[in-house]
């Protein structure tokens, strides 16, 4: 299969996944309670108000019409208007999305660094180091994010006063909005006070989320390394007198393909972890937006955010497969399958 056909096939496979998830979201938000507005606003709201909200959201139409309106909206980027501020849902989402990206990317980097460092240590030394690393992986995974985050806030924010415990930047130091990623925007505009403040605010949340995700990474990279080290070509390298750490690097190259795939699979963990991290650190991202709007009973916004998460999941999964095209020579040469 040529790389181009592989890419096209991958894109085609993403369509049913997206439709399935969008349908499940529709079923959850529209069908389960009978009347979602009433369920969210509460039975005590005056009937006229409920009627008005239902018409505004198009909920008085037959279900199948609603379903196709909903799909049409998703594919044309029109997710409706918020009940709270009457702005397009997508505008509010785009305001908040960069904060989530910043948090997710920096946490991902933290987890990759920790995961690789510990996995290499475990594979290099084995024995007790290996056991300790495996224990770390178990404990990191079950660290409840709000608990770990609040504990870090207590130590580094309250006791030591080294780092801020919430928000993205010291109020008043927001960099001009270009990408919405504060660190990047501050770098572009050369706004050093903003950059320092944004980085300081980023440390505790990214460590919180990064450590939790690193549990899975550590375990997986370590297992792959150890498994690869048992293969014949490694024995050849050893027999040729290659130093231990260089043998390890070659084993890592072979273990890279399953590692990339696995990292893609942890996206769900990263996104749901981000929601918890955002709440713990008052981080103004998509997760906190979702929780706020559930409280304000902003039905179109809640639906829009969940749909947006569906789109993220689908697109990242495609991206992971394309990255595999780069790291896996078998796929590139079209010799695979």
């Amino acid at each position: 299969m040529s790389p181009l056909r592989y890419i096209l096939l991958r894109l085609a496979l993403a369509v049913p996944t997206m439709l399935i998830l969008l349908t499940v979201v529709f079923i959850i938000l529209r069908i389960i309670p009978g009347n979602p507005i009433e369920a969210i606003v509460g039975q005590k709201a005056p009937p006229e108000y409920i009627q008005q909200l239902m018409e505004q959201a198009g909920l008085n139409k037959p279900l199948y019409v609603q379903y196709f309106d909903y799909l049409k909206g998703v594919f044309t980027g029109d997710l409706g208007r918020s009940f709270v501020d009457n702005r397009p849902v997508i505008a509010d989402i785009m305001d908040r999305f960069p904060a989530t990206v910043e948090l997710a990317v920096s946490s991902f980097i933290v987890s990759i660094l920790i995961g690789h460092a510990l996995a290499f240590l475990a594979a290099y030394f084995r024995r007790n180091v290996d056991e300790a690393v495996r224990l770390y992986a178990i404990i990191a995974y079950i660290l409840f994010i709000p608990f770990f985050g609040l504990a870090l806030q207590l130590v580094f924010g309250v006791y030591l006063k080294w780092l801020p415990i919430g928000g993205r930047v010291t109020p008043g130091l927001e960099p001009p909005r270009i990408t919405g990623l504060y660190v990047l925007d501050a770098l572009i505009t050369g706004d050093w006070p903003s950059l320092v403040s944004a980085l300081k605010h980023l440390v505790l949340p990214s460590i919180t989320l990064g450590v939790v995700i690193s549990g899975v990474f550590t375990r997986f990279i370590r297992n792959n390394l150890v498994k690869t080290l048992e293969e014949d070509f490694i024995t050849t390298y050893r027999a040729a007198g290659l130093p231990r750490w260089r043998v390890l690097l070659r084993a890592y190259r072979a273990a890279l393909v399953p590692t990339v795939t696995m990292m893609g699979l942890q996206l769900a963990l990263l996104l749901q972890g981000a929601v918890l991290t955002e709440t713990t650190f008052s981080w103004p991202g998509l997760g906190t937006l979702l929780l706020e709007r559930i409280q304000y009973l902003d039905y179109p916004m809640v639906q829009g955010i969940v749909v947006f998460y569906v789109l993220i999941v689908v697109f990242i999964n495609i991206a992971v497969d394309l990255i595999n095209l780069v790291v896996d020579p078998r796929l590139r040469r079209g010799a695979w399958r």
């Binding site: 996944t17 389960i32 079950i142 709000p146 609040l150 207590l154 963990l269 809640v302």
Partner: protein, 267 residues
């Protein structure tokens, strides 16, 4: 390593004793307020008091009932539905299997907590609703397991023999395939309990499982958030219980998987 099994069992027994048995003997009220809020630990209040002056230790031992109950019920729901669908799908094969597998794989790729939040938000805050929400998101975990196992088992000769004798699909699935899965399912359920505890805690942290003043570890940790600035470290204890409970189930599950040689199968 048998250590995992021992530690896991020990932790689970400890948590169960603390939350299910201790309240029978210790007469403490988790909801009664003293007029002294945010007291640090002292002999009268071993873990201090919270922002309403309620005894944190009392809330700790009562606050585990909802998480444990919800997690157990949720894993029961998802294992029964997931295993049943998985066996049926794996046994029947062809297009129903491909369609259902595609649905389950899609659900599996989506962040479970977000799905559970959406369901819980629509259903309203209650332990039962939280259990339904969590139960729903873990169905694919059991589905995949049961389906893959069934595809292997259905080629065995005793299944073919049953088919030749004219046994119905239901009979074969329930009497010949299910028994071969029970052990694996039990181990996976134990590991899954750790995840369910964490998801329940997250939903509780967001306010979707109990209505105040009912004690719940996740909800109590959420209330503690505002008082961290005062250095009230004892308010983090419910979080420690969440982590400890999840660790217990995780170690127990891992230990069982190793004990029964299922490590390879479960990844």
């Amino acid at each position: 390593m048998a250590l995992k099994l021992y530690f896991g069992t020990g932790i689970v027994i400890f948590v169960a004793a603390l939350t299910l048995i201790l309240p029978l003997f210790v007469k403490l009220s988790p909801t009664m307020s003293t007029d002294k809020p945010l007291l640090p630990p002292s002999p009268a209040h071993p873990l201090g008091t919270d922002y309403l002056g309620r005894d944190v230790f009392a809330r700790l031992i009562y606050g585990g009932r909802v998480p444990l109950g919800v997690a157990l019920f949720a894993t029961l729901i998802s294992s029964v539905i997931g295993v049943f669908l998985g066996m049926l799908s794996g046994y029947v094969g062809r297009w129903p299997d491909r369609a259902l597998t595609m649905v389950m794989d899609s659900l599996y790729a989506f962040p479970g907590l977000l799905m559970a939040m959406a369901i819980a938000a629509v259903l309203g805050p209650s332990p039962l609703n939280a259990a339904l929400a969590i139960g729903f998101v873990y169905i694919p975990t059991y589905y995949r397991l049961a389906r893959n196992e069934t595809q292997v088992v259905k080629t065995y000769q005793y299944v073919e023999a049953a088919q030749a004798l004219g046994a119905s699909t239901t009979h074969i699935v329930l009497r010949h395939i299910l028994p071969t899965l029970i052990l694996t399912i039990a181990v996976v359920t134990t590991i899954n309990l750790a995840d369910a505890i964490l998801t329940e805690a997250a939903l509780a942290f967001f306010g979707y499982t109990v209505v105040p003043p009912t004690p719940d570890w996740g909800a109590d940790l959420s209330a503690a958030k505002s008082y961290i600035l005062n250095g009230a470290w004892w308010l983090l204890m419910p979080g420690l219980m969440i982590v400890l409970t999840a660790l217990g189930f995780s170690l127990l599950g891992d230990g069982l998987a190793e004990r029964f040689g299922l490590r390879k199968k479960l990844g």
